[in-house]
C-alpha cells in the first residue's frame, strides 16, 4: 500500500495544512477569526427561516421516517433476517418485528420547533455561564463552500457533553444542516431527554459490549443509509467517549469504519471528513472527571442528574472555542483512483464488508483525524498558566502575578512557534490571568499575591464516598485533599501535551545523551552520531507512550527538526559541531519537562508496583489498580511529601489503564484473553527490571524530585484547621 499523500506532504513541510494558514501572517491573525456568536448583537435568530446548506445534495430528500423504512426494506436487512431466521429458528415475522423495534430505538427524528426552543435555551444559558462561544468563522466558511457533493462526517474532539450541543448550535448559526449525532443509550433512557435529543437529530447506539448481532447489523445498515442516502451529514466522536483527562484518546474505528463502508463499496463518490476542535476554558464536567479518575464512579445520566447539573448556571465557565479543520477528502487521503475502487463497485454494496487492508487505512485516517483535531484545539491562558505554575511548583517555587504573566507570555511564544493557537492576548495579560484564575477558583487562587491551590470544601472532603462503588482503592481524605486539586491542575496541562510530548522526549534524550557523553559511555562522538542517538531515544519514548499521547501522524521527521530548533532557540540544548551535547537548565526546559514528569512518574510507579508481584501470581486489572493506588498513596503520605518520583497523577485510573495496556501490548504483562487475568511475563527478553531501570533513569534526569510537597503542606494545614 503506498503511503497516503498527507504522509508524503508531511515529510516535506511538516504539515500540509500549513499552507492554508500562510494567509494568516501570524498566529494572532488566526485567533482574530474567532467570533463570539453569543455576544450581544451576534446572536442567531431562533425564529428565522432555516434553509441550511445540506451536507450531501440529492434531487429528492428522504425524511427520518423514510430513512428508517429504507433501512427496513433494504436488501441487506432482508437477507440478514433470513440468515438469523435460519440460524435461530425464529419465524421471520418475529425477527422483522424485532428489527422494527430496534430501528425505532436507533432512528433520529427532526423537529424544528424543539430545535428552536433548545437554541433559545442554549443562548440564554450560554450567556449566563459563559464568556462567549468563540467560533472560527473563516474555517466555517471554508468548510461550507465545499459542502453538498458528498456525505460529510463531523468528528469533534470530545471533552464534554457540551460538544454536541455546541456543534448543533453552531451548525444552525452558520446555516449548515444539523447533522445526525451518534449518542449513547444512557441519554436514551433519560426521561424526556432521549426524545428531545432524538428530535434534534440524535440517533442512539448501544454500548459496544452489547453483543446482539441483529442489533449491530441493523445499526450498521442505519449508519450506511445515513451516510449514503441521507443528506444531513453524521457527527460522532471518534474517541468514543469523553476524554476524562483532556487529552486525546486512542481513536475508535468502529463507527468510522461503518460510516466509510459506503465509500469503499463505491456507493458514495467520496466522504468529506471535518475534524472539529472544541476547547473549553473550563470544562463543565471537570470535577466529575477528577473524581472519576481517582476511582469514584460516574453517576448514571439521569434527568435528575441533569437538573442537578443545572446548578452549574451559578458558576462561570469562561470561553468556549470551536474550530473546523481543513476538510479531509477520504478519497484523496487514501490516494484512491478508479483502479482501486472498481472491483468493489462491481458487487452489490450490501454484500460487502471491509477487509484487513481497508481497516488499516481507516486506522491511519483515524490517527490523522485526531491529529487535526488536536492541532486546532485552542490553548487557553489557563492551560499555559497551569503548566507554568506546575513547573514552578515542582521546583518548590511560588509565583506572583508578574512572574506568571512573564511565564505565560513566554509559553505563548513557545506554543505559537510549535504551531498552536493560543487565546492569550499579550496586551491584557494580567487581566486574562486574573480572569482565568477566578474561573478556576475551585483549583487555584491568589493568597497573599501568590498563586495557591484552593483547599477542598470541608463538606466535600467529609462526604463519604460509598466504598463499594469505588473502582479501585478507597483513598483516604488526606490523599484526596492532595490529589483532587493537583489532578484538576494536570487536566488543564494535558491539552498542552499534544505539543510538548515530543519536545519533552527530545529534551530527556538530550539529558541522557549528555550524561552518557560525560560518563564516556558514548564512544566516538560526532554530530551525526549524536543526532541519531537523540532520534533513537525519542523513538523509544514514542513507543512507550504511544497510547498515552496520540500524536502519531507520519510527521516524525519534520517534527524532530522543529522541536530541535525550538530547544536550540530557547538555549535549552546545544549540539556542538563535535557532537557534544549540552543541556541548560532554564525556564523553558523546566516547563517542557514538567509537562512530561507526571506521566513518567506514573509509568515508573506502575512498574515498581508490578515488580513487587511474584512472577506466577495471577491478578485482575482491578487488583493491579488497587495495588498501584495503595502503593502511590503510601508514598504520598510519607512525611513532608518527601518520596521521590511520585505525583498524585499516578493515582489516575484512566492513565494507569492506558499504561497497563501499553505494557500488555509490549508483552511485559501477559493477559489471558478469556479470563482477563494477568500475569507478569517471565521471558528474559522483556524484562520489567530493565524497564524500571530505564524509567528511573528518566525520572532522575528530571530537574524535579518531589512534586506534591507544596500541595501536601497546604492540605495538611487545611485538614488540621477543620
Amino acid at each position: 500500500m503506498e503511503r497516503n499523500p498527507v504522509t508524503v506532504a508531511g515529510g516535506k513541510s511538516g504539515d500540509s495544512s500549513n499552507q492554508d494558514e500562510k494567509q494568516y501572517s501570524s498566529a494572532a491573525d488566526y485567533m482574530r477569526n474567532f467570533k463570539n456568536i453569543i455576544a450581544p448583537g451576534n446572536e442567531a435568530s431562533m425564529t428565522r427561516e432555516f434553509n441550511p446548506q445540506v451536507a450531501y445534495e440529492f434531487e429528492k430528500y428522504l425524511n427520518p421516517l423514510k430513512l428508517k423504512q429504507h433501512v427496513l426494506k433494504s436488501e441487506k436487512l432482508r437477507s440478514i433476517i433470513e440468515h438469523y431466521a435460519k440460524e435461530s429458528g425464529q419465524p421471520i415475522k418475529q425477527l422483522e418485528r424485532q428489527a422494527r423495534a430496534i430501528i425505532d430505538e436507533i432512528g433520529l427524528e427532526r423537529n424544528m420547533a424543539i430545535i428552536r426552543w433548545c437554541g433559545i435555551a442554549i443562548t440564554a444559558i450560554g450567556k449566563r455561564i459563559c464568556d462567549g462561544f468563540y467560533v472560527n468563522s473563516a474555517s466555517m466558511a471554508n468548510v461550507r463552500k465545499d459542502m453538498g457533493k458528498c456525505p460529510v462526517l463531523y468528528l469533534p474532539s470530545h471533552r464534554s457533553y457540551m460538544d454536541f450541543i455546541l456543534m448543533s448550535y453552531i451548525c444552525y448559526y452558520y446555516d449548515i444542516e444539523i447533522p445526525g449525532i451518534a449518542a449513547g443509550m444512557d441519554f436514551h433512557s433519560m426521561f424526556g431527554m432521549g426524545t428531545m435529543l432524538r428530535k434534534t437529530g440524535a440517533f442512539f447506539m448501544r454500548r459496544s459490549f452489547s453483543n446482539d448481532e441483529l442489533y449491530w447489523d441493523i445499526f450498521r445498515e442505519y449508519m450506511y443509509a445515513l451516510v449514503a442516502n441521507y443528506h444531513i451529514g453524521v457527527e460522532f466522536f471518534i474517541e468514543g467517549t469523553r476524554s476524562r483527562n483532556f487529552k486525546a484518546l486512542v481513536p475508535k474505528i468502529g463507527l468510522l469504519s461503518m460510516a466509510l463502508l459506503p465509500y469503499f463499496t463505491g456507493e458514495v463518490p467520496d466522504v468529506m471528513i471535518v475534524p472539529v476542535s472544541v476547547a473549553y476554558e473550563r470544562v463543565l464536567e471537570e470535577q466529575l472527571f477528577v473524581y472519576e479518575l481517582l476511582g469514584v464512579p460516574k453517576p448514571k445520566e439521569s434527568t435528575k442528574g441533569f437538573f442537578k447539573a443545572l446548578k452549574i448556571i451559578d458558576e462561570r465557565f469562561g470561553k468556549m472555542f470551536l474550530d473546523f479543520g481543513e476538510p479531509i477528502s477520504v478519497k484523496e487521503f487514501f490516494g484512491h483512483d478508479s483502479g482501486q475502487r472498481m472491483q468493489r463497485a462491481g458487487v452489490g454494496g450490501h454484500l460487502q464488508k471491509l477487509n484487513r487492508q481497508e481497516v488499516e487505512l481507516v486506522k491511519q485516517l483515524a490517527n490523522e483525524i485526531i491529529y487535526q483535531q488536536q492541532r486546532r484545539i485552542v490553548i487557553t491562558t489557563f492551560n499555559l498558566l497551569s503548566l507554568y505554575y506546575a513547573s514552578q511548583l515542582y521546583a518548590q517555587k511560588s509565583v506572583n502575578i508578574d512572574e506568571l504573566s512573564r511565564g505565560v507570555l513566554h509559553l505563548k511564544r513557545i506554543f505559537e512557534q510549535l504551531g498552536a493557537h493560543v487565546s492569550t492576548t499579550p496586551s491584557s495579560i494580567k487581566a486574562d490571568i486574573i480572569d482565568a484564575v477566578e474561573i478556576h477558583s475551585n483549583i487555584l487562587h491568589f493568597a497573599t499575591a501568590r498563586l495557591q491551590f484552593t483547599p477542598m470544601a470541608a463538606k466535600q472532603l467529609a462526604e463519604r464516598i460509598d466504598v463499594k462503588r469505588m473502582k479501585a482503592h478507597a483513598l483516604c481524605p488526606q490523599t484526596m485533599a492532595v490529589a483532587v486539586p493537583m489532578l484538576a491542575l494536570q487536566l488543564y496541562i494535558n491539552p498542552c501535551m499534544f505539543w510538548l510530548a515530543r519536545p519533552a522526549y527530545l529534551l530527556l534524550a538530550a539529558l541522557k545523551e549528555q550524561r552518557n557523553q560525560r560518563n564516556q559511555l558514548t564512544e566516538d562522538i560526532s554530530y551525526d552520531a549524536s543526532l541519531s542517538a537523540l532520534h533513537s531515544h525519542v523513538t523509544t519514548m514514542d513507543a512507550l507512550f504511544q497510547h498515552e499521547f496520540i500524536i502519531e501522524s507520519n510527521r516524525e521527521a519534520a517534527e524532530f527538526e522543529t522541536h530541535l530548533q525550538l530547544l536550540l532557540d530557547e538555549r535549552v540544548v546545544e549540539v556542538e559541531k563535535s557532537g557534544r551535547i549540552r543541556v541548560q537548565d532554564n525556564e523553558c526546559s523546566h516547563v517542557i519537562l514538567a509537562a512530561l514528569a507526571p506521566f513518567l512518574c506514573l509509568y515508573y510507579q506502575l512498574v515498581v508496583t508490578l515488580r513487587k508481584i511474584p512472577l506466577d501470581f495471577e491478578f485482575s486489572n482491578k487488583d493491579l489498580l488497587v495495588r498501584v493506588q495503595q502503593h502511590v498513596e503510601q508514598l504520598l503520605q510519607q512525611p513532608g511529601g518527601s518520596a521521590s518520583h511520585v505525583h498524585p497523577y499516578c493515582l489516575a485510573l484512566d492513565n494507569l489503564n492506558i499504561a497497563i495496556y501499553a505494557l500488555i501490548q509490549r508483552s511485559y504483562i501477559l493477559k489471558c484473553k478469556d479470563s482477563g487475568q494477568m500475569k507478569i511475563a517471565g521471558t528474559p527478553g522483556k524484562c520489567l527490571q530493565e524497564l524500571e531501570r530505564q524509567l528511573l533513569e528518566y525520572c532522575q534526569l528530571m530537574p524535579f524530585a518531589q512534586y506534591s510537597t507544596a500541595a501536601n503542606q497546604q492540605a495538611q494545614f487545611h485538614i488540621a484547621k477543620l
Binding site: 436488501e75 472498481m342 472491483q343 468493489r344 463497485a345 458487487v347 452489490g348 454484500l351 460487502q352 471491509l354
Partner: protein
C-alpha cells in the same frame, strides 16, 4: 506466476483456505450453502456405467419394456406400445436376461507425482482421493464411446487423483500447485459432456488430476435489485433452480441435462436451455465470470449489463471447454418465477409445413418459452412412449386419430407435431397462445391439446435413459445437433437423414432409426437435433461404426451450411473440423491464448484443437516420477 490481483476472495466455508488477495471481502453470512442432491461420492447415487440415477432405468420384464424410477412420470410403467415399436423398428425382442456390466475389480495403476501429492497434503486442505472407483467415475462423459469403453473396461488412462476444492481460493492453490509440478488437471462438473471433452486423454503421461467442482456449490450472493445471483460453478442445475425457486426466482436455464450438469459446465460448453426464448442461452445469462488459469485469474471487474471494452473475455471463458482454466464463480441473471405455465401442442400435415410455421414464429419474434417441432418418425416414437392407457383414454385417442385422419385429411405417415410451452402472466400467456394458434392455422396446423405438449417436455428427461437400455439390448443410439440458417433448414434435415440412410445401407445396416426435430428458433436460423440409432447385435465394432456414420452426417451438416455444434460443444469428437470452422488464423489465435494462459498445458484435454496440434509444452522438466513413458495398462 502467482495469480495476480483479484477482486473478490471467496473463502472456504470454514475459512480455512488462505486468501489469494484481500482486496475485497464479502459478508459470508449472506452466502448460502446448497445441499446438493448428489453425494460427494457421486457413484452412490449416480450410475457408474451410464446416464442418470442408480434407481432409474428401462428394463425388460416378460418381453415388455418397463421403466423404474419414481423420480419420473414414467416411473413403474409398462410400455407395451414402445415394446412394439422397438420390435417393429429393430426386429428385436427384449431380453431381460442380458447381463449388466460389472464394476471392474482393478483400476489402471495411477501415475503419482510425489512432490505434488506431498505439497497437496502438506500445504492445502483440499480433500482428495486416490480410490479407484472415485477415479473411474470421473474419467469420462456421456458419449457413446465413453459408455461403451466403460462397459468393456477399455479405459487405459483414468484420473490418478480426484480433488474436491471448496472455493475459488482453493482452486487457485490447486492450479498453482499443478502448474508448478506439471500435473494435468481435468475440471469435472456434472460429467454429462457428450463431446468427449472431459474424457481423459489416453496418451497423457503426466499425472492426471480430476478437479471435481461439486463441493463448490454455494450461492454466494443474491442481488434482488439487479436480479443477479453469484454462484460457485459446481452447483448442479436442479439444485440451483430449487434454491432460487424458494426465493421466487429462476434462472430459467434448462438444458436437457440440467438434473446433472453444473453451472461451470454450461459456461465451459456454451450451453443452451430449452426455454432460451424467454431467458436466453448461457452467454445471455452470464454477467460475470471468474476463471482460474495458471497465469492468473481472468475476470471482468465490472457488473454493468453491457460494455464496449474491447474483445469480451467472457467469451474466451465461454466455450473454453476446460482447456484454459477452471471456472470458479459465475454471476447470472435471474428472473421472477412466472405466474402461469401452460403447455400446448400443434399438429402439422408434414414437416415442411411445420418448418414454415417455425420460420414465421421466429420472423414475428413471438416465440413462447419453448417451441419444438418433431418430424414424423419422432412423433411416432413419442406416441409409442405412452404408457398403457386406460380403456377410456384409448377410446378418446382413437376418436382423435379418426378426427385427424378423416376430417383434416392428414396422412399419419407424414404428420408431425410441435410442442409448446408458455410462461408468463396469465394475460401474456393468453395473448401468446392466441397468436401462435393463429399463425399455425396459416400453415395447416391445428391445436392437439396441452397434454401432448406436457408429455413431450416431461419425457425429455426420460429419453436420455433409453440410450443405455438400447446399448444393453444391442442398439447403439445417440443424438447429435447443429444450428442452421432458415433458408437451409429443411434442406439440411432432409439431406442429413438421407446421408445417414445411405451410409447405413452402404454398411448393410438394415435396422435403424433416424429422426430430427427443430428445438430452437432464432431470428436467422434454428437448432436441429438428430436422433440416430441402429441394431448392432451382429456388428463387432458398433461404436466405431456409429462414429463413422455420425462423422459423415457431420460432413453433410457442414456442407449444408450447418454448424459444428449448437450447444454440445466441440470437445474431442468434433475437433477434426475446428480449424476449418474458425479459420487458420482463428485457431492460431486460440493456440496463442492457450499458450499464454496455460504455458505448460496442464489443461491438456485436447478439446477444440486435437491434442497433437496444441503447441508443445514449454521447456519444463516433468517431475521425475511421472516420466515413466507409458502408463501401465491395467488388466481389466
Amino acid at each position: 506466476m502467482a495469480a495476480k490481483r483479484n477482486a473478490v476472495t471467496t473463502e472456504a466455508p470454514e475459512s480455512s483456505a488462505p486468501g489469494e488477495g484481500t482486496a475485497l471481502a464479502l459478508d459470508s453470512r449472506l452466502s448460502k450453502s446448497v445441499e446438493s442432491v448428489f453425494p460427494k461420492k457421486r457413484h452412490e447415487s449416480l450410475k457408474w456405467f451410464g446416464w442418470g440415477y442408480n434407481d432409474s432405468q428401462f428394463y425388460g420384464k416378460d418381453g415388455i419394456i418397463c421403466f423404474r424410477g419414481e423420480r419420473y412420470p414414467l416411473g413403474g410403467c409398462e410400455l407395451p406400445s414402445f415394446t412394439k415399436w422397438v420390435e417393429k423398428k429393430f426386429d428385436l425382442v427384449v431380453d431381460p436376461t442380458k447381463p449388466f456390466p460389472q464394476m471392474p475389480r482393478t483400476y489402471p495403476r495411477p501415475v503419482e507425482n510425489e512432490p505434488f501429492l506431498h505439497e497437496l497434503k502438506g500445504t492445502t486442505q483440499v480433500d482428495h482421493s486416490l480410490e479407484g472407483i472415485d477415479r473411474l467415475v470421473r474419467c469420462h462423459g456421456q458419449t457413446l464411446n465413453d459408455i461403451y469403453s466403460l462397459w468393456h473396461h477399455k479405459f487405459r488412462r483414468i484420473p490418478d487423483l480426484v480433488v474436491w476444492p471448496r472455493c475459488h481460493d482453493e482452486v487457485v492453490q490447486l492450479v498453482r500447485l499443478a502448474h508448478r509440478h506439471d500435473v494435468m488437471l481435468v475440471p469435472f462438473g456434472g460429467g454429462t459432456s457428450v463431446s468427449g471433452a472431459i474424457t481423459c486423454p489416453q496418451n497423457e503421461s503426466r499425472m492426471i488430476c480430476a478437479l471435481d467442482t461439486s463441493q463448490m456449490n454455494r450461492l454466494l450472493w443474491l442481488n434482488r435489485e439487479n436480479l443477479t445471483v453469484c454462484l460457485e460453478s459446481g452447483i448442479v442445475g436442479q439444485d440451483l433452480e430449487r434454491v432460487l425457486r424458494k426465493e421466487g426466482l429462476t434462472v430459467g436455464h434448462e438444458p436437457d441435462s440440467y438434473e446433472f450438469s453444473t453451472l461451470g459446465g454450461w459456461v465451459a460448453t456454451r450451453a443452451s436451455g430449452m426455454k432460451k426464448n424467454v431467458y436466453g442461452n448461457i452467454e445471455d445469462l452470464v454477467v460475470r465470470l471468474r476463471m482460474v488459469t495458471p497465469s492468473g485469474t481472468l475476470e471482468r471487474e465490472c457488473s454493468a449489463p453491457r460494455v464496449s471494452c474491447g474483445p469480451d473475455f467472457n467469451h474466451l471463458i465461454l466455450g473454453s471447454e476446460g482447456t484454459l482454466g477452471v471456472i470458479t464463480e459465475v454471476v447470472l441473471k435471474v428472473r421472477p418465477l412466472p405466474k402461469v405455465r401452460r403447455y400446448g401442442s400443434l399438429a402439422f400435415p408434414n414437416f415442411e409445413q411445420g418448418v414454415l410455421f417455425m420460420r414465421e414464429v421466429a420472423r414475428r419474434r413471438c416465440q413462447p418459452a419453448s417451441v419444438r417441432l418433431m418430424d414424423n418418425e419422432q412423433f411416432m416414437f413419442g406416441q409409442a412412449l405412452k404408457p398403457e392407457k386406460s380403456f377410456w383414454s384409448s377410446v378418446v385417442d382413437g376418436l382423435k386419430q379418426r378426427y385427424v385422419t378423416s376430417w383434416k385429411g392428414i396422412d399419419l405417415n407424414h404428420i408431425c407435431a410441435a410442442t409448446l410451452l408458455f410462461e408468463g402472466d396469465q394475460k401474456d400467456v393468453e395473448r401468446q397462445e392466441a397468436l401462435i394458434y393463429e399463425i399455425a392455422d396459416k400453415f395447416q396446423g391445428f391445436p392437439a391439446g396441452g397434454q401432448n405438449g406436457e408429455r413431450g417436455y416431461i419425457l425429455t428427461f426420460v429419453i436420455a435413459y433409453i440410450r443405455d437400455f438400447g446399448l444393453h439390448q444391442g442398439i447403439v443410439a445417440e443424438s447429435f445437433e447443429t444450428s442452421v440458417p432458415w433458408d437451409r433448414c429443411s434442406l439440411l434435415c432432409r439431406s442429413v437423414k438421407q446421408r445417414v440412410v445411405s451410409e447405413c445401407h452402404k454398411r448393410s445396416i438394415t435396422y435403424y432409426t433416424i429422426s430430427c426435430r427443430v428445438t430452437q428458433t432464432y431470428d436467422s436460423g434454428a437448432c436441429i437435433y438428430f436422433y440416430f440409432g441402429f441394431r448392432c447385435t451382429d456388428v463387432s465394432n458398433p461404436v466405431e461404426l456409429f462414429e463413422a456414420i455420425e462423422h459423415s452426417a457431420r460432413d453433410e451438416i457442414l456442407s449444408c451450411g450447418g454448424s459444428l455444434s449448437h450447444h454440445h460443444g466441440v470437445g474431442k469428437i468434433r475437433s477434426h473440423w475446428y480449424r476449418n470452422a474458425v479459420t487458420e488464423t482463428g485457431s492460431s489465435l486460440y493456440s496463442a491464448a492457450k499458450r499464454h494462459l496455460d504455458p505448460k498445458n496442464i489443461f491438456a484435454l485436447g478439446n477444440l484443437l486435437p491434442l497433437e496440434e496444441v503447441p508443445p509444452k514449454a521447456e519444463v522438466e516433468p517431475p521425475s516420477s511421472s516420466s515413466s513413458s507409458s502408463p501401465p495398462k491395467a488388466k481389466l
